[in-house]
């Protein structure tokens, strides 16, 4: 067992755990018999667990997802893999109209215990249709659990918790995190219903909030801020839907400054949600600076190298640092 665990390997360990210990789990989606389609997050699972439980599929996102929902109603706990969120869009009807609502509209007798994994896979000049992170959409829809791990251990343990959860989960992981490592720890058994945002770094001057990859940018920024004497608390959202942002509120009550970083478009997104929630939950006098959010610019992803660099720069650590400094410099 290695001393550290990287995010990509952690996901694989999560799948391995699930397939080893839970005969009712199977995985289905595009790229599962390929050695790299989904990075190193599922390598050779097909060889280890067989083509019956690690099912590669035709290019049919909708049916693939519906199939998993159906199997989930009959004793299985399938995990659907969409190698890109952009492709998962073709399964929106199955996720939003069927999985999210099945339990409620049929009287709560059963819920499809399906996990729908969408991989955020962008950069590398892949362009507009290979770049999206639409987690805010799914957080908008009641009936879905929406999970977005930022750390290797969470990637593994929240994947396991998602797969074992009794209802539908949309699970986002981010290829930009696959190399991020942290000290190894054995599997923690989490009940997804009990999981939510939490502080992963303590601080007193400012609360940085991120989800998935942007959480790690916040961590980098927090370390940088520390060098100039600014103590930033970092809240990792982890579970976006159904939303419970009380950890953010508690943190801001203490730090009195809120900066949300969401590596996605701004309008009707997670950043605004968290700010609105904080403002509704706290006395306005709490805030020593206006709450702020950093988002990706409101454009499709470009491919051209310099434009792509600009495109992602707003949500990267240097801009977080700069914005945080401004917030501390300014009066209320």
């Amino acid at each position: 067992m290695s001393q550290t665990l990287a995010y990509g390997s952690a996901l694989r360990e999560g799948f391995h755990h699930l397939l080893s210990k839970h005969p009712e789990v199977f995985v289905v989606g595009q790229g599962l018999w390929s050695p790299w389609y989904v990075g190193n997050s599922m390598t050779n699972l097909d060889k280890e667990f067989g083509l019956e439980r690690v099912i590669d599929t035709p290019v049919s996102e909708d049916a693939c997802t519906g199939l998993a929902i159906g199997a989930a109603l009959y004793g299985y706990k399938p995990i659907v893999i969409h190698p890109r969120v952009d492709f998962m869009i073709l399964a929106t009807n199955q996720i939003v109209n069927q999985a999210a609502k099945w339990g409620h509209m049929l009287g709560g007798r059963e819920y499809p215990a399906v996990t729908i994994r969408g991989i955020v896979n962008r950069g590398g000049q892949q362009g507009a249709q290979h770049s999206q992170s639409l987690h805010s959409w799914f957080a908008h829809v009641p009936g879905l659990k929406v999970v977005m791990p930022a750390t290797a251990l969470d990637a593994r343990d929240l994947l396991i918790a998602s797969a074992l959860y009794e209802g539908p989960v949309v699970f986002f992981d981010d290829r930009w995190l696959y190399e991020d490592a942290e000290p190894y720890a054995p599997v923690r058994h989490l009940d997804l219903a009990a999981e939510g945002p939490k502080a992963i770094r303590e601080g007193k001057d400012l609360t940085l909030v991120g989800a998935g990859w942007s959480t790690q940018q916040c961590m980098i920024a927090a370390k940088e801020l520390e060098t100039s004497g600014i103590s930033a608390e970092v809240i990792d959202i982890r579970v976006l839907g159904p939303s419970d942002f009380s950890a953010v509120v508690a943190s801001v009550r203490k730090t009195r400054r809120l900066l949300v970083v969401d590596a996605a478009w701004e309008t009707c997104g997670l950043g605004g949600e968290i700010i609105a929630n904080a403002v509704e939950s706290l006395d306005l006098g709490t805030f020593l600076a206006k709450p702020k959010r950093l988002s990706i610019q409101a454009a499709p992803a470009p491919t051209s190298a310099p434009l792509e660099t600009t495109y992602y720069s707003t949500v990267k650590a240097p801009n977080i640092v700069k914005t945080a400094r401004d917030m501390l410099a300014k009066a209320k």
Binding site: F26, A63, G66, Y76, G108, E166, D191
Partner: protein, 364 residues
């Protein structure tokens, strides 16, 4: 594989002047025929009651009636068992009742009462009777087809009971649903993975207000089964014996691991697309005379005539049983009207399993 023959139009099957006589029942067991007859009567009478209650304003939720199409559901149900996994549509009262769904729970559901099969949360378009083999129904057209394929996959993973006696996934859907891409994706999946899956298309020639000739280049839907290399049968969907026999053949194949089957049952809905009327919302180019002709293909009358001709029942038997069913349905409706609505808390409590609350932490 060698080239196959692909049908195009339905010919006599869509000709309303054909197939009006008493059914050929052959050696079909009489006991089942009688069951089938009265099951169809139950569906007819229950839906007529629902129609009346809609007209009277007692039922508010959209109700899509399968009056005239009863033989499809009842014929298919003959070879289903409680562990099978059938999924329905917006028009599924018939499917639900055909597998033995409770009449009380049907009326409870369409009235939004807690006694409904979906505890009043779903109404007419969200019926389920899972322990009887009916997994559930929803109105998004085509949406349950892939779910049924997933249930078939689960059945295959289960491994079958006696060697290969797989439970089957069943998708009921209409001709309109075959225009949704997901139908084709699902067929390809089932064929590719050789699943114990049965696709049942009730081709009633209409999708809402549009006749199939305004929506597709040919009227026979089974041509898609040919293209997906799925075994198919095309039958008079108003002949419960023909439906059952074809379903039996396809189900036998599917259960023994030979792969999916496609059943096209050609039929006709008597009422509007939604609602109780025979003259409103029936179809933009549908004439009154069309319905008159199609009524001569009444699945109930044709079976009744065959059974009376064979002295298996008398007209008096039929009338007595019809009256008994009518009374039973009226009672159910009354009980449902008297039943309570769901608690207000159901709105939020049913969104997530266990009301969204954590359970004890699992160990594994």
């Amino acid at each position: 594989m060698t080239p196959s023959i692909c049908p195009t139009n339905l010919g006599d099957l869509e000709d309303s002047s054909k197939y009006g006589g008493a059914l050929e029942v052959g050696d079909t067991p009489r006991a089942w025929l009688k069951d089938a007859l009265y099951r169809m009567v139950l569906i007819r009478v229950a839906e007529e009651k629902i129609a009346d209650m809609v007209t009277a304003g007692q039922i508010v939720c959209p109700a899509h009636l399968a009056i005239g199409q009863e033989a499809c559901a009842v014929g298919v149900a003959r070879f289903l068992r409680g562990t099978d996994r059938a999924f329905g549509t917006h028009r599924s009262h018939s499917h639900y009742l055909a597998v033995g769904g409770s009449v009380d729970e049907l009326f409870g559901e369409v009235l939004g009462k807690v006694t409904g099969c979906s505890r009043g949360m779903g109404g007419s378009m969200h019926l389920a009777a899972k322990s009887l083999g009916f997994a559930g129904s929803v109105p998004i057209v085509g949406a349950t087809i892939s779910m049924a394929v997933g249930a078939a996959l689960a059945a295959k993973l289960d491994g079958g009971k006696n060697g290969k006696d797989f439970d089957v996934g069943v998708a009921f859907f209409g001709d309109g649903a075959t225009e949704e891409g997901t139908f084709h994706e699902s067929m390809n999946y089932a064929a590719n993975f050789r699943l114990p899956m049965l696709f049942v298309c009730e081709n009633n020639l209409f999708s809402s207000h549009l006749h199939i000739r305004l929506r597709q280049p040919a009227s026979c839907i089974a041509r898609y089964a040919v293209s997906h290399c799925v075994a198919h049968e095309i039958v008079d969907g108003n002949d419960v014996v023909a439906v059952a026999n074809a379903m039996g053949r396809l189900a036998t194949r599917a259960r023994s691991g030979e792969g999916p089957g496609f059943l096209e049952a050609v039929t006709y809905r008597w009422r509007g697309h939604v609602g109780p009327r025979e003259d409103i919302d029936v179809g933009v180019d549908r004439k009154k005379g069309d319905l008159e002709l199609w009524k001569r293909r009444d699945p109930i009358r044709r079976l009744r005539e065959a059974l009376v001709a064979g002295s298996d029942i008398t007209d008096a038997d039929f009338d007595r049983e019809h009256a008994r069913i009518r009374a039973l349905v009226d009672d159910s409706a009354r009980r449902a009207e008297a039943a309570p609505y769901p608690e207000a808390s159901a709105l939020m409590d049913l969104v997530y399993p266990n009301g969204g609350k954590p359970k004890a932490v699992r160990k594994s």
